[in-house]
């Protein structure tokens, strides 16, 4: 019974994530779901992408955008430009942009539309942009300002919104994967045989 804490410690060590820094030469040196790259076992599953402004309040407004949230500013400028131009072809692009927009961008779009003269900007664009404010964090990469269509000189009406320099898509997630991440799936997970891992082949 006095060895119980020792057994617990050994079991905890055995159940730990010991593949994180495990050295390897072959993919089969790593555990299931891991692969070998540059001599180190790596997880096949990409790390989850966390968008910084995903939880910002909906009515945070211009102040929140000016606070330096690059994604919000980029999305807002793109949406505002598209709405000012009033190009039907670009309105869909604006919708695409706003589809990826954060909730905090709604107030920015409203500001831009209110500054535009009647007839220049179809309200449908603004409405669609507003309706599309449900953020899809996985498609932030689509939210480049180039999708917003040509920039019209009239877009100066939205100048207060674009007050800061457009930082570009700084929040575009970059998958943390090594070049070997594209190796074909060898179906290890579907091989229902017991593991005989006794730890012999692991580096000391």
């Amino acid at each position: 019974m006095r060895f119980f804490p020792l057994l617990i410690a050994i079991a905890a060590a055995g159940c730990g994530d010991d593949n994180a820094d495990q050295l390897c030469i072959r993919h089969s040196n790593c555990a299931m779901g891991w692969y070998c790259s540059q001599g180190v076992c790596r997880d096949k599953t990409p790390a989850p992408v966390v968008i910084a402004d995903a939880g910002s309040p909906a009515d945070s407004g211009v102040t929140d955008a000016a606070a330096g949230d690059a994604l919000s500013v980029a999305d807002a400028s793109a949406a505002a430009d598209a709405s000012v131009v009033g190009d039907v072809s670009s309105s869909s692009d604006a919708s695409d942009v706003q589809t990826d927009a954060a909730p905090g961008d709604v107030a920015l779009t409203d500001v831009a539309v209110s500054d535009v003269a009647p007839g220049d900007a179809p309200l449908a664009d603004a409405a669609s942009a507003t309706d599309a404010s449900e953020a899809d964090a996985d498609q932030v990469g689509d939210a480049s300002p180039q999708d917003a269509g040509p920039v019209d000189p009239l877009s100066d009406a939205a100048a207060p919104v674009d007050a800061g320099p457009d930082p570009g898509p700084l929040d575009v997630p970059v998958p943390d994967l090594a070049p070997d991440a594209g190796i074909p799936d060898r179906g290890f997970g579907s091989f229902p045989l017991p593991s005989f891992d006794t730890g012999f082949g692991k580096p000391r």
Partner: protein
Amino acid sequence: MRALLCSALLLGANTASAKQVEAELGVGLVTGLMAGNVASGTLWMGSPFKLRADWAAHIEEDYSRRYRIGLEVPLHERIALGIRPGVDFPFKVIGWPFSIGLGLRSYVTPYTLHGVEGQLSWRPKLLGKIELDAGGSASAFFFGNDLPSQGALIEFHGHLGVRLPL
């Protein structure tokens, strides 16, 4: 009477053809070291234990070489199935039987790994017809989806087993 004669001839023919293939069965364990090129240079690691079994035979009383086909299964890490076809060349040194073997070594499932292997074995009589099989081998792998890109693998194994004439 003719039927009995034909049966005797057929039986004799079968006996004669059986002598054309003098087979033996071998089983053993291997383990050792493996080395591969990684970003920081050459990495050495312990190689997992593997269970090997092979069937080998002299063909048509040619005792200068023995053809074999074998299977190999790693006993830990990821389980896999490998095949080892090759040819052994028996010889004697001061009365002790040895054998040099050359062959291919491939893992075929669930991952693939293909290479070549050379081995040296000492095969003294152990008990009756049973032979001990002790020695070492070196393998080099260059192809297969188990290797990282631009990688190569070399394994140095010691092996120990027995061989049973069939």
